[in-house]
Symmetry: C2
DNA sequence: AACCATCGTTCAATCGTTTGACCGACAGTA
DNA sequence: TACTGTCGGTCAAACGATTGAACGATGGTT
């Protein structure tokens, strides 16, 4: 209640009011198990803390303990809703463990990755999660910070094993199996860019599911886009042009490209889902509002973020971290997929 | 180059290597203007810093200076792209001034606003920006922290004057004037929720623009939604039902509601833009991918975030802060608006 | 020759917590 | 009585950077 503005309340103030040494107060605050104390003394201390509105000073504590109580997360772009989900999951996991999450984007005007590493590598964070593409030079810098770090939703090509990813292949299989169940056989794939390992895994899942169903996948059945609407539109156009057989269904590697795919189909006079079914990975709010509403496979991105935090907090800089989060995925069926209708 | 893992390099290490006192090193690092030093000494110091890869310890510095070098931003939800823009702007402004931005959401599982204030009010941040709704109790708590703080894109009803907002009325006027220029007169408004002051200002702008054009605004010309697609759909349905005259154009208070508005219009057999034109505030990536692509008024949200940071860093807890960011807004014309065609 | 100013640098207190070491009082035991 | 062991605390040294004050050397002035 007594919240004096301006004056910071310290351990000493509390100790004085409670008539004990500050060491006692510190141990009470931190619930030191080695502390033996009379109940009434503890009472006095707790009361004094309440009365003065004492809050431990983070800087002093960090200085002493060499722990910041903070984790860093670097993402490419705040506007991408995929990262929003990762952030949300990471944030609440961090909070649950008494840590604060600092999220930075690596593409801002003056916020290069390098700049961030400089800022964060001074004891400001206890660990770092990277959902952004990272150069070898940056990785080296990371190593030199002596912090635990890991890639999130991204598996790097180096010899490091420090990542948490999702089961993208499984998601792709779910999507393709849905199309198969609807009777489709001419299923093409709009894949993600070469550099993205999520794209690679989704393509693999597509191939596996097709193979399992006894269907061929020819080179012309796959076109690569860059995870943007424009890229998706182009890739779809290419598939329509090149194919000998006309596809009755499309599996798209992400929702952004699906937007372009829908557009290309519409421009070519193809109705969705009457003429062509479309399904994409992963479910985003946007998917519901497209016309037609998009069928998707929802991936556990929040859990990915949360798991990353847990692993980070439990690891040393030297530890290997390699995990595939295998929480169940869910097919979200909307208007863009329908049973095959033979003309 | 010499980046020893594990061992932290301190001022003393640098001082020893350079053969000077640590005070000198500190002053060199901080570019203390009162420092007089021989060029060759400075050289030695700088070199030692480089060689050891010295980075000042933030905790120690914070403890001594009572500054954290960090600003806090609390938003309701990371998934909302409106906040993504504010974050981006705030982040790069903060970085430009050598500060780190900590962004937290107030709606997460265990991340109530209260919890955040607890975590941040321990010297972890030098100031706080709130883009979330705030209770009186929370505001009181804020005051007791003795930090400078302000509301962002939200003006509170209290007697405080601590906010940065945009010129929402002006945005609304731009939108309505666009419709007027296209020849529309029966222009209705799907407004935002009662609690949101942005909604109030946009409604005011709508009224002003109509009045300026010599047009009446009757009560039935405005319906309130809750800034969600569902709310927009309902509000539009209400406008179609209640009105004596059928509207030829709709001004929608945000893009999320516009999604629902488009849906309701479609379900009622009205084509956009042939039968009804639709324009919304503010421009989001999503707007481009709706069918039809949505005409919007782009607001300077990044600048809002940036300006908030600047004002925060330049203010004391006692200062009043009340600013309307007046950067030019822009009408982004797409497919959802067209000239009035008289049947 | 004594004095003073300036330059370039060192000294040392301080920020608020944490934590191992230490210590007096009291009870139980031999 | 002397000794040992717990209980309930106190003491003080860190952690690393900042910053006002002090200080020795040098050169110039009178």
């Amino acid at each position: 209640m007594t919240a004096r503005r301006g004056t910071r309340v310290t351990l000493v103030d509390v100790a004085r009011l409670a008539g004990v040494d500050k060491a006692i107060v510190s141990r009470v605050v931190n619930e030191d198990p080695s502390l033996v104390i009379r109940p009434d003394t503890r009472e006095r201390v707790v009361e004094a803390i309440q009365n003065l509105g004492y809050r431990p000073n983070v800087a002093a504590r960090s200085l002493r303990t060499a722990k910041a109580g903070t984790l860093g997360l670097v993402i490419p772009d705040f506007a991408n809703p995929v990262y929003a989900e990762i952030i949300t999951g990471a944030e609440s996991a961090a909070l649950a463990q008494g840590h604060v999450l600092v999220t930075g984007s690596s593409t801002g005007a003056n916020s290069s990755m390098d700049r961030y590493l400089d800022l964060l590598g001074q004891g400001r964070v206890d660990g770092l999660m990277l959902a952004s593409p990272t150069t070898a030079h940056e990785q080296q810098k990371l190593e030199s910070l002596g912090l635990p770090w890991m890639m999130v939703n991204r598996r790097d090509t180096g010899d490091h094993h420090r990542f948490v990813i999702l089961n993208d292949a499984q998601a792709a299989k779910l999507a393709v199996e849905h199309l198969l169940e609807l009777g489709h056989q001419e299923i093409v794939h709009v894949a993600g860019p070469f550099g993205a390992d999520t794209a690679r895994r989704r393509a693999t899942g597509y191939r596996q599911a097709m193979k399992l169903a006894g269907l061929d996948v020819r080179a012309e059945s796959i076109a690569r886009g860059d995870y943007t609407p424009g890229g998706g539109a182009d890739a779809m156009a290419q598939l329509l042009r090149g194919g000998v057989l006309s596809p009755t269904a499309v599996f798209v590697a992400n929702v952004a490209m699906a937007v372009g795919v829908l557009d290309t189909l519409r421009r070519n006079g193809l109705r969705v889902p009457e003429d062509v079914s479309v399904v994409a990975v992963h479910d985003l709010p946007l998917a519901e509002h497209l016309v037609p509403a998009l069928t998707t496979v929802r991936m556990p991105l929040q859990e990915l973020g949360a798991r990353a935090v847990e692993l980070l907090l439990a690891s040393s800089p030297e530890d290997e971290v390699a995990e595939v989060v295998n929480t169940a995925m869910e097919l979200v069926q909307r208007e863009s997929t329908a049973p095959l209708t033979r003309d």
